[in-house]
């Protein structure tokens, strides 16, 4: 059961996430406590299965498996699932986090299509700094995705907003929290990446396009962390910035990997 070569756990997690998403959709029609608890339980169970798979793969490989596309897609989906679960457990965010749930499933499907395969660890990647760099970056990205999801929910016009969704004022606070947590993890990712770059290549800032755009992402969200203290930028302005920021993140993670050449290839 705990064999990382078997995708049973991942298929189970995908099925449970799908069921949770369907229940969340159903909840858009109106609040039902029993169903909400059911959706939360399904999400929790799916995340537990993912965590179990991650732990098994980690134990078997002897290192955090984030060395190829399958394992990074899986890890990213795990970070997304964890982010949704955190906000759902803490704030009953429900439908406002549906986008994150959707991306979690998409990433899982992507990982399952690649098939479970964990690349051996080459000496260049055999450092805790690499593990920290990758883990923090995906956790940061997941939180920025959550901020995007909440921002879209915040900007929904009143007549489109389902009654089960948290009130706007709470959504604004959730958005700010997601941005702050994302910025924290992304800062840790940048610092661990810089220290790793220094010991691996002899310089701590790289002019490679991925390095430059990671700095842009950091600078953008650093600006956002300041903007929340400016009245004019609170509320809708902040939500719009969250959406714009997520597009910068998407370009940094996907656009550069797919369209341009970088030392952080997707494959």
């Amino acid at each position: 059961m705990l064999n990382p070569d078997s995708v049973l756990l991942l298929q189970g997690a995908l099925g449970l996430y799908l069921a949770a998403a369907l229940v969340q959709f159903f909840l858009l029609g109106g609040e039902r406590r029993a169903l909400r608890r059911g959706a939360l339980a399904l999400t929790g169970l799916a995340f537990a299965l993912q965590t179990l798979y991650l732990a098994a793969a980690w134990v078997q490989a002897g290192y955090l498996p984030v060395t190829n596309l399958f394992s990074t897609l899986f890890f990213f989906s795990w970070a997304m699932g964890g982010t949704f679960l955190y906000f759902e457990l803490r704030y009953r965010i429900g439908a406002a986090g549906l986008f994150v749930l959707g991306v979690t499933m998409l990433l899982l499907v992507g990982a399952l299509r690649r098939g479970p395969m964990i690349s051996p660890l080459i000496p260049a990647l055999d450092t805790p700094l690499f593990t920290m760099h990758v883990a923090f970056s995906f956790m940061g990205y997941a939180l920025f995705a959550m901020a995007f999801s909440v921002a879209v929910a915040y900007l929904l016009p009143g007549f489109l907003r389902p009654p089960s969704m948290p009130p706007r004022d709470l959504l604004r606070r959730h958005n700010e929290e997601a941005i702050l947590l994302g910025f924290v993890f992304f800062s840790l990712c940048m610092i661990s990446g810089s220290i790793w770059a220094y010991v691996a290549w002899g310089y701590w800032f790289s002019w490679n396009i991925k390095g430059v755009w990671s700095f842009i992402v950091w600078l953008f969200y650093a600006g956002m962390c300041h903007a929340k203290f400016v009245r004019r930028w609170q509320g809708e302005g902040y939500a719009l910035l969250s959406i714009a920021g997520f597009f910068v993140v998407l370009f940094t993670y996907l656009g550069i990997g797919l369209l341009l050449q970088s030392n952080h290839p997707l494959e």
Binding site: P123, L129, W204, W207, K228, R231
Partner: protein, 350 residues
Amino acid sequence: MLMKEKIWDWLTSLKLAIVLASLATLVIMAGSLIMHYHPRLFGDLDAVTLGQWYPQAARQAPLHTLWMPLAALLLLAFGVNTLCCLVDWLARLRSRWRKTGEYLIHFGFCLLLAAFFWGHLAGYRTAGNVLPVGETLALSGHPGLSLRLDDFRPVFDQTGRRPLDMINHLTLLDGERELARKEVRTNHPLMHRGLVILPASFGQEATGFRVLVPGQGTVDLHRGAEIRLPEGKTLTVLDFLPSARRMGDRMVPMGGLTNPALHLRLAGAGETLWQGWYVLREGVPQELVRQGAALRPSEPLYRTYSILTINYDPGARIALVGGLAMCAGVSICIFSYYAKRRRQDHPDIV
């Protein structure tokens, strides 16, 4: 309000920080695309410092490089704004200590920015430094310092073809004095006061040839080696070329190991009896055979060399302190964020 206070308020302004961060973001976004679409101009920018690269590049393409000083200016202004905010916070620390996390991030950012510019202006980067085992390399950027490669061992994968790692035993010397000694391999560089020495590649070169000398067995012939022959004669190796080509009377070195040649001198009773090139493919020169040196080549002699990257970044340690300060700052920020929320401690909105 006094003019001084007005200027200070402007320098510590939150809105100024947002404007500068936004402008810097936009300029760097545009610059990154210019870099991507002009690879010839920007090339491998990581191989040199900006201080070495920028003056020439700016002369060559002033328009395409204009974004760099602009971004530098905006980031410096953002840095000054951050520093002023930090000083302002320090002056009111007693009432604003709850923001320690946020201001540790500010402090870290200022240090990182200072370290970046210092490193690029006062540092240097060199790649492709060839250092054979047992030899010493003078560091051109650091007069008096040199690097000795005591031992080298490549690590290959299971097929034995793909190199995975390079284990270098390096000693950093100041004249004869040993400053640092370390086993250097991937992710484990030798670091000493801003100097960082990393393995980049390795190779082998032929340094001589093993020959069979009748009555003496095998002898290794490399530059400086001597063979004692009967009647008190000696044969000395003056030079070795792994691949030589005749150009009139001269021998010109070529690449690879295709036509090895030894430059030899035969001496006896204090005088040179013969001196010339022994091109191994052409057979032993007649004069040597007559003098009793009928050499029979057996195999080439190789020596391994390491190719090292040697960078100097005087700001690296400051950057590390900045990074650690930022790590501490963001960690405190998480805890203080939730603590403030529990206390209903709302931030000041401007």
